[in-house]
């Protein structure tokens, strides 16, 4: 099971993580106003970033990327030494080169190494047996070179016999250890490549006397054999292949699989702690006892451990957002609509794997905003808007979730056209009476696309349904607001992490469910009037000063019904503060749970975003408040309640 990870694949993955970082620094540098000054620090920073990408790319045989970086590097190098700063035209060119570079990184990531690592075929004419006469000059020793190392390196090439001529050695009292007095004669046999010999002396050829001649049968043996290759347990040459393209896995510096194993272990630890605490409480452990204090200490440490591991898993959204800035420039250029992107909340931390899986949906959303959201310049001018379309990408933490929003100041959704398209595609009946929200929801239906021409940007017929599917697969939700003439806002609500969650465990209809604690407002005992109302089929009760829909949890999910005597309700709120009260049989307590995705085979599970494994090994569903609220809203209230409670 524990497949060893190819170290080179890890290095490649590390390289792409580094590229993301460097592209971010490059963007920062290019956006720095002081770059306009000659020889400014941002120019140097940009140069270093590009230079580093080039070096890594060349070393890993990403030739195309290395060449793209080289072109950019040369431009920046000239700029570095120029006596005037870049003007607007030069800056635009730099920006275009930066975008090219980002694309080249992306291509290298998907296509794998392409270049042919330099491999010299042996030249038969260069092979032979050789005599090398080598006399180091004083400068050789001063440069840190050492004659003995060179001779040893030489003896690796073939069968060597080495003789030393100490004739020039002075008496000890006049000996200067930094001077070269000795010379060596080395005979190498066994088809040795002359180039390999020359390479051995590459560092010193100008600081020694060196003669290399081909040995023939007639050559006399060296006079005195001093040493053969000493075996001092020298390190072996490693096998090191820089070829062989394997697609890059979604890794950060650590392979995600390894990381997930660590996360799982931390999660299992949390479960084991919760079980231990419960067992001790059941056994009547005194809260003031030393054992209880020790347990508390273990729990605190466990929590710290988990937070630390989780922190490793998160990163600021900034690199993701910067990548989107490039996507926007590209989309705006191709659509011929000038647009400016405002980034808000770039330091918001987000789970790395969520960030990776957001790239595609966000890319699509941005292209959509440019293609379909922003009006052309004439229409913008006519409605008194600035010529440049304004697009805002923001991130924030809210109610234990990450909210990522994309807003444009375009024309808003043309609902009449959406309706006409849906009608033409047979998605709705001609007489369908649709609210604005229901019309907007048509945009997310599979196959729907209002683009009158399939553009190069959002083309390929991929609609917003693909975005919604991708977001849902992350345990996220997508909502949309649009106002004619004012613009459109798409909001993604995403879990903070895919790994661990603080949850309230409840029992309903005989099943155990986990409710995200961040969304659980409170548990309350229902009064007789509320229960009477519920029994009459009324689904709105007043809880916490708000009219709140009340549902039987098990009934809502189609998994049985609450016990007749049940009078406990848990009040949930989603990140938009929509409320729902769920009748449950029993509260089982709070626990940290490990979030396990359902996997691809199941499709969407209504009401639940994921599952967790309980201490006894059984599976419990993690309910999603937003999904439950949608489910409740879709339930026909006028129908008699399927789960009538006896009073």
């Amino acid at each position: 099971m524990a497949a060893s990870v190819d170290p080179l694949a890890e290095i490649r993955a590390g390289f792409f993580a580094e590229c993301e970082d460097l592209l971010g620094r490059l963007d920062d540098a290019l956006a720095d106003p002081s770059i306009a000054l000659p020889g400014s620090e941002p120019i140097h920073a940009a140069f270093r970033a590009v230079h580093t990408i080039k070096g890594g790319a060349a070393s890993l045989s990403y030739q195309a990327l290395a060449e793209t970086a080289h072109i950019f590097e040369s431009r920046l190098d000239r700029l570095r030494s120029a006596d005037h700063g870049p003007d607007a035209g030069v800056m635009a060119a730099m920006q275009a080169l930066a975008d090219d570079l980002a694309q080249a990184v992306e291509r290298a990531r998907t296509a794998g190494p392409t270049g042919d690592a330099a491999g010299c075929e042996p030249d038969p004419a260069a092979l032979g047996n050789w005599r090398i006469v080598f006399r180091p000059a004083a400068a050789l020793y001063q440069s840190g070179n050492e004659a003995l190392h060179l001779i040893n390196a030489l003896t690796d090439l073939g069968e060597a016999s080495v003789s030393c001529d100490a004739g020039a050695l002075p008496s000890l009292d006049t000996l200067d250890p930094q001077q070269g007095y000795l010379s060596w004669t080395i005979d190498l046999a066994g088809s040795v490549d002359e180039r390999a010999i020359r390479e051995t002396f590459e560092f010193v050829e100008d600081i020694c006397d060196l003669r290399i001649e081909r040995l023939t049968e007639a050559s006399p043996p060296p006079t005195e054999t001093a040493a053969n290759r000493p075996d001092d347990g020298k390190p072996q040459n490693p096998e090191f292949v820089t070829r062989g393209a394997a697609p890059e896995r979604p890794t950060v510096r650590v392979d995600l699989d390894r990381f997930d194993r660590l996360m799982n272990l931390v999660g299992e630890l949390a479960i084991a702690e919760a079980i231990l605490a419960r067992r001790l409480r059941d056994a009547g452990l005194d809260r003031r006892s030393a054992a209880a204090a020790a347990l508390k200490e273990v729990q605190t440490l466990g929590r710290d451990l988990q937070d630390s591991v989780l922190a490793l898993r998160t990163q600021p959204v900034k690199p993701l957002f910067q990548r989107m800035a490039r996507i926007l420039r590209e989309a705006a250029a191709r659509a011929g609509k000038p647009a400016r992107l405002h980034l808000v909340g770039e330091t918001t931390e987000i789970d790395r794997s969520i960030a990776e899986r957001l790239v595609e949906p966000l890319t699509h959303m941005i292209r959509n905003a440019v293609d379909h959201g922003l009006e052309d310049s004439a229409r913008r001018a006519a409605s008194g808007k600035p010529a440049e379309g304004q697009i805002t990408l923001s991130a924030a933490h809210r109610s234990g979730r990450v909210i990522v929003e994309l807003a444009d100041d375009g024309g808003g959704i043309d609902r009449a056209r959406v309706r006409a398209t849906a009608l033409a595609k047979g998605l709705i009946a001609p007489d369908a009476a649709l609210t604005e929200a229901e019309t907007d929801a048509l945009l997310f239906r599979p196959g729907f696309s209002t683009a009158q021409t399939v553009g190069a940007l959002s083309g390929r017929g991929v609609g917003m349904d693909a975005v919604q599917t991708a977001v849902a697969a992350l345990g996220g939700r997508l909502s949309l607001w649009s106002e004619p003439g004012r613009g459109t806002r798409l909001s993604l609500s995403l879990p903070l992490t895919l790994a661990v969650m603080e949850a309230m465990l409840v029992r309903a209809g005989g099943h155990v469910f986990a409710l995200p604690l961040a969304a659980t407002l409170e548990a309350t005992r229902l009064g007789t009037p509320d229960l009477d109302q519920f029994a009459r089929g009324e689904r709105l009760v007043r809880l916490r000063q708000r009219q709140t829909p009340l549902f039987d949890a098990a009934g809502l999910l189609g998994l049985g019904r609450a016990r007749p005597s049940a009078a406990l309700a848990v009040i949930l709120a989603d990140e938009a503060d929509r409320r729902l009260a769920l009748i449950v049989d029993e509260l089982l307590g709070q626990s940290q749970i490990v979030v396990k995705p359902f996997g691809a085979g199941l499709g969407r599970v209504p009401g639940a975003a994921a599952a967790t494994i309980l201490g006894d090994g059984t599976v419990a569903l993690i309910l999603d408040p937003g999904e439950l609220i949608d489910l409740a809203a879709a339930t026909d209230w006028s129908a008699p309640p399927p789960e009538r409670l006896a009073s």
Binding site: N264, H511, L557, G558, L559, K596, P597, F598, G599, A600, G601, L602, G603, R604, V605, P606, G607, A608, A611, I613, G617, T618, V619, A620, L621
Partner: protein, 164 residues
């Protein structure tokens, strides 16, 4: 146990494959052994909301969430639970892999492993009559017996599972 069995014979002239015999809904079927990852004793499955009855739910397969279907009901036959009762056997979960996805298939019992020559396989009849007709990959006709080969790829709930 299953790993030790040869999956394919060495002779190219007479290629054949191994199949696992099983009972579901009181009837006999066979599954290609190459698609089977393991066989587990039945454990309680956590039911999923608003799923067709043949989706039994999910179980914990060494830390991952494994969907489990009731093969009898999936094929339009009697439920595996009931069938198990009549046959007096404990149901088991056969874990099959298809397109990289794992699926638990609850059956009443597993039977022996049969080797069937490829030339004995015939495409299922176009009208696919009889129980589970649309889930068949082939018919294996040998001597006077006809065995029904299930297609693991067609058993999974899939993204439209809730609609099925």
């Amino acid at each position: 146990m299953t790993e030790a069995l040869p999956i394919q014979t060495g002779s190219p002239a007479e290629s054949s494959s191994d199949y696992l015999g099983l009972s579901a809904g009181g009837e006999e079927f066979i599954l290609p052994l190459s698609a089977i990852r393991e066989i587990r004793s039945f454990s309680h499955a956590t039911p999923l909301p608003h799923r067709p009855g043949w989706v039994m739910g999910v179980v914990n397969l060494r830390g991952t969430i494994l969907p489990v279907i009731d093969l009898g009901r999936r094929l339009g036959l009697a439920s595996t639970d009931k069938g198990a009762g009549t046959l007096g056997a404990r149901p088991v979960i056969v874990v099959v892999e298809s397109a990289g996805r794992l699926l638990g298939v609850a059956v009443e019992r597993v039977r022996d492993i049969t080797r069937i020559a490829d030339r004995a396989l015939e495409p299922p009849p176009a009208c696919a009559t009889g129980p589970g007709g649309s889930f068949l990959r082939a018919l294996a006709v040998e001597a006077d017996t006809v065995l029904r080969v299930l297609d693991p790829a067609r058993l999974a709930p899939g993204p439209e599972g809730s609609a099925a």
